[in-house]
Symmetry: C2
Subunit: 118 residues, 2 copies
């Protein structure tokens, strides 16, 4: 088993969020929903795509937790759920922290080497 810091469920959730964001149509939908809720037809309008394919993209987004939807009568409205994006963000923050710490260590190593030479 790979060793990792997070629990299995949290890891699986991150898989789904990264997968959902790996498609340009789905990223466009996330960008659109960042400006406010929208119905299925609002969301579909900018895309030259058959509705069933577009609905599959919405399904991937909803299963990843990035969007939620609610049906009133015949109209389904989608909203962005910011929590999964925050999860991606904290993973990236952790990587940056590690990366920066490493650069700092290289920096002080170089400094020490220079000190030893003088």
């Amino acid at each position: 088993m790979p060793k990792h810091a997070g629990g299995g469920a949290r890891e699986a959730a991150l898989d789904g969020v990264f997968h959902a964001l790996s498609d340009p149509t789905r990223r466009r939908v996330v960008e659109r929903l960042g400006r406010g809720p929208a119905t299925t037809s609002d969301l579909a309008r900018p895309f030259d795509m058959a509705l069933p394919s577009f609905l599959q993209h919405l399904g991937v987004l909803e299963r990843s937790g990035l969007v939620t939807s609610e049906k009133k009568g015949r109209v389904r409205t989608y909203r962005l759920a910011p929590e999964p994006l925050e999860r991606v963000d904290s993973w990236l923050d952790a990587q940056r922290a590690m990366w920066t710490r490493r650069l700092d260590q290289l920096d002080s190593l170089l400094y020490d080497l220079k000190e030893q030479q003088t």
Copy 2:
């Protein structure tokens, strides 16, 4: 065609980076490389996985641009290339900026409504 801000190549690159990060083994490799360069066998060690499968993961990471590798004799060494992670980060920043602006607008709308009532 979907309307989007970035160019086609930049979009495709983002697809590959998000796809590469959608797997826990590949995220572990990125985390490990954040602490410094490592050889194939260093990277493979923590995983209970057949080497060909593990090499496929490394291939996905390399094609996404997240890692680069160099072979000396029989040993291949991998390094993290931070630029693709920064690209993901700026996409997320843009989403957060939009999201925050929208919350601010809702805030001032609520404030205006309250002002009108008093």
